[in-house]
Symmetry: C2
Subunit: 192 residues, 2 copies
């Protein structure tokens, strides 16, 4: 397949594992890169929403003043086996429960929207040294049936899909998606 101007595939072919970040976001970014390189899924982290106040065009468009905006969607989205995927990564410091204040109200509404329109939305929660795929539908159900402002660790262990840390990939969340959504018929028409 030819591209104009002799495009070279400029995706990095190797991840520098020695200096790799071991925080949740880095491990997910590594996985996104791996999946892209191996043509398994096309999932990107969205740019952080920033409000630009002042730009100096004299020096080649340098931004002199800007501020971080509150996101109303989730951080990562893309396509996997023909399905729309969106998720957020949340590192949890508490050992006993995951505070719902981690998720903005707009994001909860957005998760509901995605699911109703046939997409897949979830959180990847890092907690007590483990990583869990927590389905958006389980999150909404918990919120609608509880007055609690945090999800107990026991509930995350019960409903979450444990995600493995793979040395070559990072956090191998596609395997988690396969497990979490296979049973509900999302991928019945797709080849593995």
């Amino acid at each position: 397949m030819k591209y104009p101007n002799n495009i070279k595939k400029s995706y990095k072919k190797e991840i520098n594992y020695k200096n790799r970040g071991m925080d949740l976001e880095s491990l997910i970014n590594d996985a996104c890169k791996y999946y892209l390189e191996h043509d398994l899924a096309i999932i990107y982290k969205k740019p952080t929403p920033i409000g630009v106040v002042d730009v100096d065009y004299k020096n080649g468009a340098v931004i002199n003043k800007a501020y971080f905006k509150e996101p109303s969607t989730l951080d990562y989205n893309g396509i996997y086996k023909g399905k729309y995927i969106e998720f957020d990564a949340k590192e949890c410091q508490s050992k006993t429960s995951f505070p719902l204040s981690n998720i903005h109200d707009h994001q909860i509404k957005h998760i509901d929207n995605i699911i109703r329109h046939g997409g897949i939305a979830f959180l990847i929660i890092g907690m007590n040294g483990g990583y869990y795929l927590f389905k958006g539908s389980d999150l909404l159900h918990f919120i609608h049936t509880n007055s609690r402002k945090s999800i107990p660790y026991s509930v995350i262990l019960e409903l979450g899909i444990p995600l493995k840390l793979n040395y070559n990939i990072g956090i191998d969340y596609l395997k988690g998606i396969d497990i979490a959504y296979k049973g509900v018929g999302y991928f019945e028409n797709t080849k593995d």
Copy 2:
């Protein structure tokens, strides 16, 4: 349906048409907002990718230095009738042809990726006072079979789906998607 903390739907219920921007991007942003409010599709403009160099945390995280990065994906993405959608808006000044230099090499590779994974990717081209949905597959085919560095206006008229400007919506591109992708079986299992 209840959300925590008494979430109010804060989407603007009315667009101020008097002051509405008539440029292509504003007209598409209006449509995204309309579709979201009317629960027809969940499509957002991605934040502009910005590289943050310096942040002053003393004054509430004010960004003092940053720069615009080159995008490797398209500007808008989301979900419509269960399908992954991604597109870019391109206003064309030339009356005779659409320069392919408008699209970065990474974006062309990305369009190819999206299509191969079962998503829908296209451009909305504003040209000679009209708006056209130009399918990603037609774009790739043109690039792979031509040595030209621009798409003649006649080709855009021939292959593009004309998009109507609707006073209440903006550019009604969902109708264009229905027309462009209905025939190839994308939506055969969905209800209109």
